[in-house]
C-alpha cells in the first residue's frame, strides 16, 4: 500500500522537514557565526585515541602544507553515534576514522566517498597489506588509507604453563581444554582461559576468531548464511565455549560481562594462563610497569578446531573522506593530502603508522615498516616477529561486513551470550543468528 505515496530521498526528506519546522528564517544567519564552513580548513574527526600523537602529526601537517586542520575527537564508545548524527545533520566533516565494519553501511548511506581517483593515495596500495586494501574496498572502490590494523592473537603465560608441567602451547582447541584442566587442577588458575565476551564492539572480533579457528565461516561465497550449519565451525566454536564454561569450568561464567579491557587487566594481573587478545596488547602485557606477568607473555598460533586451521580474524581502521568533502574539489584535495599525511608517507616516511606502533603497539598496514630498525627493536623486545607474521597471514576479514552488519551483529552477539548463559543450545543460538542474517539479506540485499 505504501508505494503509491510519495517517494522521497533522504536529502529531500531532510530539506522538507527542516522547512516545515520554519527554521529557515532562524537558521540562515545563525545567532553566532561559525568559522566552520570555511573552505580552507580540513575538519578531521577521530575517536579519542592517541590524541597527542594525532595532534603532533596535525601540527606538523599545518606547518608543512599551510592547510588548517580542525581536529576534534569523541570517545570510542559514542564515536559512531556521534558521526551518524553529524552526517545526518550535515555538519562539516572532511576526514574521519572509519572502522572496517562500518564501511558498507556508511558507503550505502552516502556519507563517505571512494578515494580511487586520488593517485597520491592509490600509489601506497603496492606497499600495503592486501588484507588492508581489501578491507577498505566496497563494491570495487577503495575508501581510504590504513590507520591501523591488527588481529586476534592467542596468548599464554609461559610460566603458568611451565608450572603445570606443560612444555608446548596448545595447537588445537582440544589441547587447550586439556592444558587448562591441568593448570586448573594444579591450582594455578581457577579459570585458565580468559575470554572477554561482553556486549561491546569487541565481541564480534572474539567470536569471529573462535569461529574461524574452528574452521568455520559465517557466510559462503555468495554471502548466504552458513553459520547455523552444524557442519560448519560456528556452532562447534560456540559448543566449545559453552563446554569450557559449564562442563570443564575453565572459562569464567562471568565472561559475558567482561569487556576486552577488563579482560586485559585480569590477564595482566596473572589470573589466567591463556587469553584471546588483540595482538597489540602484547606490548602492554610484557611491560613490567603495566603487567605482573611481563616478560612471560608469548604468542602461539590460534589453536585449531576439528577440521580447522590456525586462522584468526583481522580488522583494520582507516582514514576516510566524507561525501561533502568529495563534492568540493578544493576540499577534496586538501582532505586527500591529510589522508596521505596520516595513512601514507609524511615527509617521506610512514611516520604516523610507525609512531602509533612504537607508542601503543597498534599494528601497521604497510609492509616496509617491518624492515624499519625501530620497529624491529620494539617487536623483538616483547614478541616474536615470525609468529606475528605467520599469524597475520592467516588473519581473515570478517565475512559478515555488509550494510546490515550492525543489525545482525546485535542478534549474533546476544545469541552467543544466550548459549553461554544456557538459555539456548548452541544450535538454537546460531539458528537464530542465521535466520536474522537471511531476513536482513533478503530485505536489504
Amino acid at each position: 500500500m505504501s508505494n503509491q505515496f510519495k517517494n522521497l530521498n533522504r536529502r529531500d526528506f531532510l530539506k522538507k522537514t527542516a522547512a516545515a519546522g520554519a527554521l529557515g528564517a532562524l537558521g540562515a544567519n545563525g545567532l553566532i557565526t561559525q568559522a566552520m564552513a570555511a573552505g580552507d580548513t580540513v575538519h578531521f574527526m577521530a575517536w579519542s585515541a592517541a590524541v597527542d600523537l594525532v595532534k603532533s602529526h596535525v601540527a606538523e601537517f599545518q606547518k608543512v602544507t599551510g592547510i588548517n586542520v580542525n581536529y576534534s575527537n569523541a570517545p570510542w564508545a559514542q564515536y559512531r553515534d556521534n558521526l551518524i548524527t553529524k552526517f545526518v545533520g550535515n555538519a562539516p566533516i572532511d576526514m574521519m576514522w572509519v572502522s572496517d565494519a562500518w564501511l558498507p553501511e556508511w558507503a550505502e548511506a552516502g556519507w563517505i566517498k571512494p578515494v580511487d581517483k586520488f593517485d597520491n593515495l592509490m600509489k601506497y596500495n603496492a606497499e600495503a597489506e592486501k588484507f588492508c586494501n581489501d578491507s577498505m574496498t566496497y563494491k570495487g572502490s577503495q575508501y581510504g588509507l590504513t590507520y591501523y590494523t591488527d588481529f586476534m592473537a592467542f596468548l599464554y603465560d609461559d610460566e603458568a604453563l611451565k608450572k603445570a608441567g606443560i612444555s608446548n602451547p596448545p595447537k588445537s582447541w582440544d589441547e587447550v581444554t586439556e592444558q587448562c584442566l591441568k593448570i586448573k587442577n594444579a591450582g594455578i588458575a581457577e579459570y585458565p582461559l580468559m575470554l572477554a565476551l561482553a556486549q561491546e564492539s569487541w565481541l564480534i572480533e572474539f567470536l569471529a576468531a573462535m569461529t574461524y579457528s574452528h574452521g568455520g565461516n559465517f557466510t559462503d561465497d555468495k554471502g548466504n548464511s552458513i553459520m547455523q550449519d552444524p557442519k560448519e565451525g560456528a556452532v562447534r566454536a560456540l559448543q566449545w565455549v559453552v563446554d569450557a564454561v559449564h562442563k570443564h569450568k575453565i572459562v569464567s561464567p562471568a565472561s559475558v560481562e567482561i569487556g576486552e579491557l577488563t579482560g586485559l587487566k585480569a590477564f595482566a594481573s596473572g589470573n589466567h594462563a591463556f587469553a584471546l587478545e588483540p595482538k597489540y596488547r602484547m606490548r602492554t602485557l610484557n611491560d613490567p610497569k603495566q603487567s605482573k606477568i611481563a616478560g612471560r607473555v608469548k604468542q602461539a598460533l590460534m589453536p585449531m578446531g576439528m577440521d580447522g586451521s590456525h586462522a584468526t580474524v583481522g580488522w583494520m581502521r582507516f582514514h576516510g573522506m566524507s561525501a561533502s568533502a568529495a563534492a568540493d574539489k578544493t576540499r577534496a584535495e586538501n582532505t586527500a593530502r591529510l589522508i596521505e599525511w596520516f595513512g601514507g608517507k609524511a615527509n617521506g616516511e610512514y611516520k604516523f603508522q610507525k609512531y602509533l606502533f612504537t607508542d601503543i603497539g597498534a599494528g601497521f598496514g604497510v609492509k616496509p615498516l617491518f624492515n624499519d630498525a625501530d620497529v624491529q627493536n620494539a617487536y623483538n623486545s616483547y614478541a616474536d616477529v615470525n609468529i606475528i607474521k605467520e599469524q597475520q597471514a592467516l588473519a581473515r576479514k570478517k565475512d559478515v561486513v555488509t550494510p546490515w552488519f550492525g543489525e545482525w551483529n546485535e542478534v549474533h552477539g546476544s545469541s552467543w551470550q544466550a548459549a553461554i548463559l544456557q538459555k539456548a543450545t548452541p544450535a538454537e543460538a546460531m539458528a537464530k543468528a542465521g535466520k536474522k542474517w537471511d531476513e536482513l539479506k533478503k530485505e536489504m540485499g
Binding site: 556486549q199 569464567s252 562471568a254 543489525e407
Partner: protein, 305 residues
C-alpha cells in the same frame, strides 16, 4: 441596551482579554517560546519520521508507510520482551526511590546534630557526572576486581566471587540499584521541600487535640505529602522508563538480552540499525505510555492540576 450583539462581542472580548488572561499569557510566553524554538521542531520531526520507512543505509527509498512502523514494532516479540524488562526496572526503581526518599526526608526533617553534614553528603551521588557514575558502578560490580565482591568476601558473606552483571537474573536489579542511588537525592529533596511547606500550625493543632507522633504522621504528614509524592512519582517514572545511560555504560543490553529494555532497543534501532523510522515509532509508543502514566498519576494524586 445589554442584549445588543455588538455589546455582547465587546463584553466577551474584554472578558477573554482581561487583566488576568493578559498576565497569564505574558507569564507563560517565555516558557512557550523556549519550547517552541527548541522542543517543538524535534518532536514534530521525529513524529513525522515515524511514518516513513526511513533506513539510512537506503537513502533513495524513503516511502511513506502510514502506521506500518507502529504495527511492525507492536508485533515484534523482542519489543514486548523489552517492555516487560522496562516495566520491572521501572517498578523496582520507582518503588525503591519512593521508600528511600521518604525515609531520608523524614530523617532530615528532624533536628539533630550533624543533620546539615548528612544532607550535604546525601546530595553527592546526584552530582557525579553520568559517565563517571556508570564507570564507577561498572568497576564496583566487576566480578573479578570489583569492590562489591571484595567487600562481601572480606566480610565473610560470600566464600567465592559471584558473577554480578553477567548473571542475567541479577542484571536488571543491579542496574536499578545504581539508578536508585543516583536518583534518590533529588527525590528526597522534593519530598523534604513538601514536608517543610506543611504549616507547623497544623502539627500544633493536632498536638493540642492529643494526636501522637504516629497519628500526626498518618493524618497530617502523609496527606500533605501528596504533591511531593506526585512530583517524585511522575519524574522518576519518566526517568526510569526512558533511562538509557546505565544500560549503555554497564551492559549494552547484555548479557544475552537480560538488560535489553525499550530505551536500549530504541537506541539500537536508531543508531546501530540506522532505522530511524521504526526507532521513532518505538519512541512514540513509549512516549504515549509515559504520558498516560503521568496523566494517571496526576489525576490520582494531583490536587487541582
Amino acid at each position: 441596551m445589554r442584549s445588543s450583539p455588538k455589546r455582547d462581542i465587546k463584553f466577551r472580548l474584554a472578558r477573554r482579554f482581561d487583566y488576568e488572561s493578559r498576565s497569564a499569557a505574558l507569564f507563560i510566553l517565555p516558557v512557550m517560546s523556549v519550547l517552541a524554538i527548541v522542543a517543538v521542531f524535534p518532536i514534530l520531526y521525529s513524529f513525522y519520521t515515524s511514518f516513513f520507512n526511513l533506513k539510512l543505509t537506503r537513502p533513495h527509498r524513503v516511502p511513506f508507510v502510514w502506521f506500518d512502523n507502529y504495527i511492525k514494532v507492536l508485533s515484534d516479540e523482542l519489543f514486548w520482551a523489552s517492555v516487560s524488562r522496562t516495566v520491572s526496572f521501572t517498578v523496582m526503581s520507582v518503588a525503591a526511590i519512593l521508600v528511600l526518599s521518604l525515609s531520608i526526608a523524614i530523617l532530615l526533617n528532624e533536628s539533630f546534630r550533624g543533620r546539615r553534614l548528612l544532607s550535604a553528603i546525601i546530595l553527592i551521588p546526584w552530582a557525579i557526572p553520568t559517565v563517571a557514575n556508570g564507570l564507577l558502578w561498572k568497576w564496583i560490580y566487576d566480578s573479578g576486581f570489583g569492590a562489591l565482591n571484595g567487600l562481601l568476601f572480606q566480610l565473610g558473606i560470600i566464600d567465592s566471587y559471584i558473577t554480578w552483571l553477567g548473571d542475567s537474573d541479577k542484571t536488571i536489579p543491579l542496574i536499578s540499584n545504581s539508578f536508585v542511588w543516583k536518583e534518590v537525592p533529588l527525590a528526597a529533596i522534593l519530598i523534604l521541600v513538601t514536608m517543610k511547606s506543611i504549616p507547623e500550625d497544623l502539627y500544633r493543632a493536632a498536638k493540642v487535640d492529643g494526636a501522637n507522633v504516629f497519628k500526626r504522621f498518618i493524618h497530617i504528614t502523609i496527606p500533605s505529602l501528596k504533591p511531593g509524592f506526585m512530583l517524585v512519582m511522575i519524574y522518576e517514572t519518566m526517568m526510569a522508563i526512558r533511562h538509557f545511560d546505565l544500560f549503555f555504560l554497564l551492559t549494552e543490553g547484555g548479557p544475552a538480552e537480560a538488560s535489553h529494555v525499550v530505551s536500549w532497543q530504541i537506541y539500537v534501532e536508531t543508531f546501530r540499525n540506522l532505522s530511524f523510522g521504526t526507532g521513532s515509532a518505538m519512541s512514540y509508543i513509549l512516549a504515549l505510555v509515559t504520558f498516560a502514566l503521568a496523566y494517571f498519576i496526576i489525576r490520582t494524586l494531583g490536587s487541582k492540576l
